[in-house]
């Protein structure tokens, strides 16, 4: 009785790139990242601008403010990510933290 799932590891050698991935290697270029950022910014503003020409109907009144979801999405995401800095200082520990105590992890 063996467990294949316990015997992982690199199964191919060299710099082999899967044929299906080759047409998409351009996504790694820094300029693509920049354009992607610009595209996201433009789309965010465009979607937010829709609220100025179309009144959304919501169960919660202030969700009808112009660009509510866009601001909330941006702010909520930024809050979650930026809080990672102090949180890591507070609760981050070395990988062997429990191992030292009980031979665990």
């Amino acid at each position: 009785m063996t467990d294949d799932s316990k015997t992982p590891g690199p199964a191919a050698s060299g710099d082999e790139i899967h044929p299906a991935a080759k047409p998409f290697l351009w996504i790694e270029k820094p300029v693509v990242h920049l354009w992607f950022l610009i595209l996201l910014a433009a789309t965010s503003f465009a979607l937010g601008a829709i609220d100025f020409i179309h009144e959304r109907h919501e169960y919660v009144d202030w969700a009808e403010w112009h660009g509510f979801y866009a601001w909330f999405g941006f702010g909520g995401f930024a809050l979650a990510v930026l809080s990672g800095w102090p949180l890591r200082r507070l609760i981050g520990r070395p990988e062997n933290y429990y191992e030292k105590a009980a031979g665990d992890e």
């Binding site: 191919a12 169960y59 941006f74």
Partner: protein, 570 residues
Amino acid sequence: MSDFLPLMSPAWPIIAGGLLCGLLPWYGIRKAVTLALPLIAAALWFNVDQPGVFGAFEAAGFTFETFRYDGLSRIWGLIFIIATLINSIYGLHDRDRLQDSTALIYAGAGLGAVFAGDLLTLFFFWELTAISSVFLIWASRNPAAFRAGLRYLAIHVLSGVLLLAGSIIFASSTGSWAFNDIGLDAPGGVLIFIAFGIKAAFPLLHNWLQDAYPKSTVVGAVVLSAFTTKLAIYALARGFAGTEILIWIGAVMTAFPVFFAVIENDLRKVLAYSLNNQLGFMVVGVGVGTELALNGAAAHAFVHIIYKGLLFMSMGAVLYRVGSVKASELGGLFKSMPYTAVFCIIGAASISAFPLLSGFVAKSLTLAATAQEGHWIAWLVLVFASAGVLEHSGIKIPYFAFFAHDSGKRVKEAPWNMLLAMGIAAFLCIFIGVFPQYLYALLPYDYPYQPYTFDHVVGQMQLLIAAMFAFSLLMRFGLYPAERPSINLDTDWFYRRLGDGLFKWTGAMSGRLSAAITNRFGRAGRTFSDRLFNLFSPAGALSRDVPSGIMAIWTSVLLGLVMVIAYVAG
């Protein structure tokens, strides 16, 4: 209804087949059984054409209802059967007989609990899910997994004990063992509520999930992600629908994992936190308790099992090929595993609730119901949590595994069976997103809802695209916390570090006490202290890991035996 098929709970053939698999040494036959069983279970599920209670039998004065088929149980039953089939396909490459067997017994136990019509039947299957699933953690066969399994078993046995105690109090007061609406005010209701809460991973009771699931095997984590917690959501929906405190518990559940997941390096642990977050939405739905909200909880559970399974499968494939799912060691894997990357992205987009994918048509039911009932603070937390879902499951998982900086790791694509299982799950994510009416037809209540309104699509896209913009911006300016090889403290610190420290301190103090007794009272005292030492010292009978685990198992077994004796004697 077919005359050829009995009206029998789909749990039984799966459990029986699981036991059989434990005896079958032949890999091919065993795998054929694992594939056939969910199909048989599906046939039994389809065989019922109207709600009712079937498969009831009497023993020692109790009526055990093993197959209650109604609006609530049928959707949970169906998704458990689908998950069992997908999991079986995903595990086809795996030759671990014990894992094949326990995965099926566990799935069958989950089904049995969902179809249970009374509290005793529920308790039996509740305990069986705990005992069978721990072997999926132990199947990793390393010390960390073994210890995590013990902790997992201990807390789940506690859940079972609370369920049994609460059920006995409830039944002795009301005269009924029926598993229907219970409520917190009912005698024993609080105990049952906590029992369900442990399995649902309520805040502060949640850490067994992050502790155990990431230490399970590649296949084990996928299987585990499907049943236990969703069974708990079902039990809450059945017994505590409309319990207002669930709204606040659920809201906290959706929000707090977002912060933990940002700095978590182990991507399977990120998914475990993500599980907490998603369960929170369902718990809120149960707490709101209206027809729309309960439909939301059921729909969310259904689609969640598929896309969370898909995400666990994709990370399992990475673990299988690369040997690690630590974000700090990954990156650029789309070059080696492009199909896995695409499936992962579909799962990530589904859980983030992009339009045309399953999360969009399910999550919105709960949000709409919460807002409709005027719970605007909870609604606001859910909207924040929706942005958080995008952070940890929508972006972090695919980005750090398949893109980000190229780790230089070049591996084979996932095995064909893993790709097939991921492909089926990805297809279902898209199919349900495009044709939500098929999902809605399965929901417990006939409540009209239209997910694809202009306002809903625009609002959701505003949220998601702006959040993605925030991610790109934070990455560009180096404000996203870098992935580091580290762990994060959570509530498990209390029993893994504080508890351990207290235990050692107690050991040291008892040593001193023993010495003092020996000096003072001579031989009699020495004998007494020797006995104490043999029992309580770090090398003593109550302190060894293996006996502790065996004790936990025996506790479960004895619980079952006590029940059987009680029935016979009664």
